[in-house]
């Protein structure tokens, strides 16, 4: 009886008595969700264009952030570090295409998946070898002062991060919908053979999507790192992206964004209002529970292409 | 040109080119973009074509046939022909070669303008049979490269010749146009008669311009209207809306990209003046409903809720009557959320005047559009009257009338119920068919419409049937089968209806249920059925249809002219009427006589006092095999309503 009350009554009463606080939690959740969205976006891009589930996405975020922070620690100015780190991610994309995708083309999906696991371990080790295994604090000058907007407490840093993420998403959407190369990317995502028959070079497309995913990862890594410091745990963010993908669908860009926001808000609310009922640390598994429930009712995700087999 | 108002279309064209040279006159969607031509440009195009035709030997009085989909170039061919004192003869583009040969031959056509290879091929196929046909001009050169016949010319090359011709004789075009008189023949339109050969209706400029002008004034239409020219060019309605009235008022007529894109072109264009036969309005509604069924539930709920609001208050608002403030707010909200977006996707958001005519329109369908705020109205007219005889006035619109006679039109109903008219738009006669002319047009100017009708209490004309189908009940009162059948068919449950009564003591009916609608209805009530025959025989289904019949009877009772035609007995046929069995035409019109003969025992049963009828019929299965179907069908007696003594008072009370 007590447990039931703790799960169903107390949190609701708590929420009702303190609407401003709920709003703060929701906003905090949205801002955290933006990060999940960015990482999930990297997954979706690569999955759509090359059919590969990139296990290394999280490590790529870490690797990009490490490179960035390492360069800054060696006295490179912020913008220079960003450009160089982005270039490194493009280079990584070229290498991945050469050494992994090209030899494994036309293999089973599971083989490619294994390839990305290998890539994850390699990047992890290589990154620590080059830049060391310590926690690197990162400050790129975004103010972290709390702000009060309309009676609601908001972290200024979170606002900036959200704005950056939003503009990145907008730029990507424009890129995909409005440019010929975006059209080529969509074409490849739809049908490899047909894309080849109109002369779309698959390999260049792979390099481009892996580069884009790398740069998106870089941005995510910088934002995350500025908040918590650049450290190994960043790569675990990828684990949060998984439920986001289940929610949003593996092939949908808007799905990745909305899914990220839902997970962000959901787990913050759960932690704050239900945490005590379950003895805390709800945040770690809540997203998975949510995704599982979702899988039962809508296996293709919120925005995923409906699974229709046509004859 | 004289100082008086222009009395021919070419004169109107010149006037618009002078008064509003930069306003659009025609548009056509081509290569995905709306291309447009201003009045000045159209005048130049028409001049070039006229010059070319003249150089090729076209003389005053020559006929020029026009065959194809709605294209600006084909409309210009009409104007060019009229400018040279010739007579355009548009031909239905889906005519088979035989029908085309008849018209070409009968109208003594010397020149023809074909839209494309398809039409040109038809002309080539019949050229031998039409010795008078000398020259064929094609508009779209695609696929025509290997045609080497000397009488074939590209539209552009004819215009090129025309420009050279004009170079030598600058005043030619204006001079030729000035020779035209309002009393000259403007056009010959062949009507596809249901029986016998088509007849060529001869109309003068005076006929068309005076009628078109009167209707423009009646509706307050201006040179800013937009119309979509999408119905066959050989049909008088299309000619009036997209050519005659466009030239009278100076508004723009736009041609769709192709027959298949009409709906999306309509949406992009958003016409302000629109005509469509009832079946098109029906198709649009069906599409909307299907799409709503696929929509999410929030959207669907909103949609149905606000449609309900529209049904309740939409009509009074459109007719500018007093409506409670709260309803007004709701309707306004609905307009923002549902009606507006809906009208927008249908391309009807800018419509000021929309007409439907040609056949009866279901009252639900009609009020659906009106309740959304679309000013849909009915009119009455025909080729022989240059269209407009009656139009419904704003604020006096009813689903089952066609309005009052417009200015200068006189209508009277003869003893036998046939509608006759006198109008400045009345045709000159049928081309080379004085016999048919004499039958239709009396020497005193009255023209027989062949329609049966009467004026209702408000002085609006009501058309009930073709005069030849109208009979008499045993006691001599009027019996108009189609009028009653249409009323029955407006119910979704009833797919076909055949009523009997000519020479009989009362009216009785065969009904066909709509398998889809009634099947759905039955499923929701858990009524089991295995076949059409089983469903049709259910008592519950009989009850359902009896309700419909009783409502029709109440309607009929309210109209003195047909109050005695109430249905006393009906039965539901055990099989669907089928074109394969010869019971329907291919266009799904019932073949009354064949059905009566075939189901004679059932007709007899209806007029006996038996509670059921027996029948054995031969049917054709889908694979072509024949079989016999035996059935015993129940017959229902239906209570009739008392004829209303004062129909006018009844209307006020409701």
């Amino acid at each position: 009886m007590d447990l039931l009350a703790a799960v169903f009554l107390a949190p609701i009463a708590n929420m009702a008595s303190n609407p401003e606080f709920v709003l703060e939690v929701v906003i905090g959740g949205l801002l955290a969700g933006v990060m999940y969205s960015l990482v999930a976006l990297g997954f979706v891009l690569i999955y759509k264009a090359s059919g590969v589930f990139n296990f290394a996405q999280g490590t790529m975020v870490l690797f990009a952030a490490l490179t960035f922070v390492g360069l800054i620690e060696r006295g490179v100015p912020i913008w220079g570090a960003f450009v160089i780190a982005a270039a490194v991610m493009v280079l990584l994309a070229v290498v991945v295409e050469r050494l992994m995708l090209r030899p494994l083309v036309n293999q089973e999906q599971i083989i490619l998946f294994m390839g990305t696991i290998g890539l994850a371990f390699f990047l992890d080790g290589f990154g620590q070898l080059v830049w060391g295994a310590d926690v690197h604090p990162l400050d790129i000058g975004i103010p972290k002062a709390p702000l009060i907007i309309g009676g609601v407490l908001v972290n200024e840093f979170d606002l900036v991060a959200a704005a950056v993420a939003a503009s990145l998403v907008a730029a990507l959407a424009l890129f995909f919908q409005r440019t010929p190369i975006g059209r080529a990317l969509r074409a490849v995502a739809d049908d490899h053979q047909a894309a080849q028959s109109v002369g779309i070079p698959l390999r260049s497309i792979w390099v481009i999507v892996w580069s884009v995913a790398g740069v998106v990862g870089l941005v995510a890594g910088i934002m995350w790192g500025s908040n918590l410091g650049v450290q190994f745990s960043i790569s675990l963010v990828a684990l949060k992206a998984l439920p986001v993908l289940m929610l949003g669908g593996f092939t949908s860009v808007p799905g990745a964004i909305v899914g990220g926001l839902i997970v962000g808000v959901g787990e913050k609310l759960a932690e704050v209002f239900w945490g005590s009922a379950f003895g805390g640390a709800i945040e770690d598994w809540f997203a998975y529970a949510l995704a599982l429930v979702f899988l039962l009712f809508r296996p293709q995700g919120l925005f995923g292409e409906r699974i229709i087999e046509r004859v | 040109m004289t100082a008086s108002a222009p009395d021919t279309f070419p004169k109107l064209l010149l006037e618009h080119a002078r008064l509003r040279p930069d306003r659009p006159a025609n548009r056509e969607k081509d290569y995905g973009i709306w291309q447009s031509w201003t009045w000045a440009e159209v005048a130049a195009e028409v001049e070039a074509l006229a010059g070319g035709l003249s150089a090729m030997g076209f003389r005053r009085g020559d006929k020029l046939a026009i065959i194809g989909d709605n294209r600006p170039r084909l409309y210009w061919a009409i104007a060019a022909t009229q400018a040279l004192g010739g007579v355009p003869v548009p031909i239905y583009q889906d005519s088979i070669a035989d029908e085309m040969a008849f018209v070409l031959d009968h109208a003594e056509v010397r020149f023809a303008v074909a839209e494309d290879q398809e039409q040109a091929d038809k002309l080539l196929a019949i050229k031998e049979r039409c010795p008078l046909l000398e020259t064929v001009i094609f508009s779209d050169p695609r696929g025509m490269r290997h045609y080497d016949q000397l009488f074939l010319h590209g539209y552009a090359s004819v215009q090129e010749r025309g420009r050279e011709f004009a170079h030598d004789d600058r005043g030619f075009f204006a001079r030729e146009i000035a020779k035209g008189r309002g009393s000259d023949i403007a056009i010959i339109l062949y009507t596809s008669g249901t029986t016998g050969r088509p007849k060529g209706v001869v109309l003068t400029f005076d006929n068309i311009i005076s009628t078109g002008q009167n209707a423009l004034v009646f509706e307050g239409l201006t040179n800013r209207e937009e119309v979509l020219a999408y119905l066959p060019m050989a049909w008088i309605g299309e000619h009036i809306f997209s050519y005659a009235q466009a030239y009278c008022a100076g508004f723009c007529a736009s041609c769709p990209e192709s027959g298949a894109t009409v709906m999306s072109d309509l949406r992009e264009l958003g016409p302000s003046y629109f005509f469509a036969p009832p079946r098109i309005f029906e198709n649009i509604l069906t599409q909307v409903m299907i799409r709503m069924e696929d929509a999410g539930w929030v959207k669907r709920k909103l949609f149905h809720y606000f449609l309900g609001v529209a049904k309740r208050v939409g009509l009074p608002i459109l007719d500018r009557q007093r409506v409670p403030f709260a309803d007004r707010v709701l309707y306004w909200l609905g307009n923002g959320l549902v009606y507006g977006p809906l009208k927008n996707t249908l391309g009807l958001s800018r419509v000021r005047v929309a007409y439907t005519a040609g056949e009866a329109i279901g009252p639900d369908l009609f009020t659906f559009y009106r309740s959304l705020g679309i000013n849909l109205k009915q009119l009455y007219g025909m080729t022989e009257s240059s269209v407009f005889l009656c139009i419904q006035k704003d604020g006096e619109v009813k689903p089952d009338t066609v309005g009052r006679p417009i200015k200068d039109v006189e209508i009277r109903v003869a003893q036998d119920g046939e509608v006759l008219f006198k109008s400045p738009g009345a045709f000159q006669g049928y081309y080379r068919n004085s016999e048919a002319t004499a039958e239709t047009k009396q020497s005193d100017g009255w023209v027989h419409t062949g329609d049966s009708g009467f004026f209702d209490g408000d002085g609006q004309l009501k058309i009930i049937d073709r005069a030849k189908d109208v009979g008499r009940l045993e006691r001599g009162s009027l019996f108009a089968p189609k009028y009653i059948e249409n009323k029955l068919k407006f119910f979704a449950w009833i797919k076909e209806a055949i009523v009997f009564g000519d020479g009989r003591p009362f009216v009785a009916a065969f009904l066909n249920i709509d398998l889809e609608a009634v099947g759905d209805w039955a499923e929701r009530r858990n009524l089991a059925y295995a076949s059409y025959q089983e469903l049709a025989a259910q008592t519950a289904v009989y009850d359902l249809l009896q309700g419909c019949v009783e409502r029709v009877n109440r309607d009929l009772a309210a109209e003195p002219a047909v109050a005695t035609s109430q249905i006393r007995r009906f039965l539901i046929l055990h099989k669907e009427l089928d074109a394969d069995d010869g019971e329907l035409t291919r266009t799904r019109k019932v073949r009354r006589r064949i059905i009566a003969a075939r189901y004679q025992p059932l007709v007899d049963a209806l007029y006996s006092d038996q509670p059921a009828g027996r029948i054995e019929t031969e049917i054709t299965f889908e694979d072509g095999r024949k079989g016999r179907l035996r059935a015993e069908l129940g017959i229902r007696d239906v209570p009739t309503s008392l004829p209303m003594v004062e129909p006018v008072a009844f209307k006020k009370a409701s």
């Binding site: 059209r183 053979q193 028959s197 109109v198 002369g199 | 894109t261």
Partner: protein, 271 residues
């Protein structure tokens, strides 16, 4: 009348095997400029494999391909597309989520002057160019009479229309050689007639060389200038339709496969 010219593509002694299965064994074939060549043969005869070799999807183990005077061991898909070879597929390979318009626009990708990366970062001049390509695509849409489905995602179209869109995408590449893999499969009579007309018009109006695979003998006899017959990875006949039709080897091949007493004329090769 059109003039059939010198060979534009020559495949010489091509052999192709997958594992132990031989798909093509020592086939030589010419495709001449401006002609319509039909490849026929029972299922599994190697017709589609031949197309895949020509446009670079398969690399043959032996033999050479000579395209416009240049001899190679094999083509690559990108190379084939860039040098004017376009194709359609037996089972329609369209970008299902994209509209008709976007699908056909992909056919223009290689003709866009500015390279990929430039387009990715620059909007101005690329816009201008996009417009020019759009005009071109609109002409194809007009030519194939598919205006009404311009903005509809192709996944929602009926099969016959999808085939037409696929043809449009190939045409947008302005190919010199058009490879059509069973362009009329699964169509009704009316759709087949339309497709025949389009193929003939493309051949006549643009002078495009066409190699097609087709099972409907009536169609093959009507529209092709030359017929090559393949059987078990070999070419057993090659010549004008009228000659091939009565060739004893061809009749034998079909008889052997189907035990059908009728000479090739109607419905052979199905199954």
């Amino acid at each position: 009348m059109k003039r059939i010219g010198e060979p534009i593509l020559t495949v010489d002694a091509i052999s192709l095997a997958f594992g132990g299965i031989t798909a093509l064994s020592g086939i030589s074939l010419e495709i001449r400029r401006h002609e319509i060549l039909a490849m026929i043969g029972p299922n599994g005869a190697g017709k589609t494999s031949m197309l895949n070799v020509i446009n670079g999807f398969y690399y043959p183990q032996a033999g050479t391909i000579t395209w416009k005077g240049e001899t190679r061991r094999h083509m690559r898909p990108y190379q084939a597309a860039a040098q004017g070879i376009a194709r359609t597929f037996q089972n329609v390979a369209l970008f299902k989520g994209m509209t008709t318009l976007d699908n056909i626009m992909t056919g223009r990708l290689l003709l866009m002057r500015r390279n990929f990366l430039w387009q990715a970062i620059h909007f101005g001049p690329a816009r201008q160019e996009e417009l020019a390509h759009r005009t071109n695509v609109e002409r194809i849409i007009d030519f194939l009479e598919i205006q009404a489905i311009r903005k509809i995602p192709v996944g929602r179209l009926p099969y016959g229309l999808q085939k037409r869109v696929e043809l449009g995408r190939a045409l947008a590449m302005e190919p010199e050689l058009l490879l059509l893999d069973e362009p009329m499969a699964g169509m009704n009579v009316e759709e087949k007639e339309d497709m025949c007309r389009f193929i003939l018009d493309i051949n006549e109006e643009f002078g495009t060389t066409i190699a097609l695979i087709e099972h409907d003998m009536g169609v093959v006899m009507d529209i092709s200038d030359r017929v090559a017959v393949l059987d078990y990875g070999r070419k057993i006949a090659d010549g004008p339709p009228a000659e091939v039709r009565i060739s004893p080897e061809v009749i034998a091949a079909y008889l052997g496969q189907q035990a059908d007493p009728h000479p090739p004329g109607d419905g052979m090769g199905g199954g």
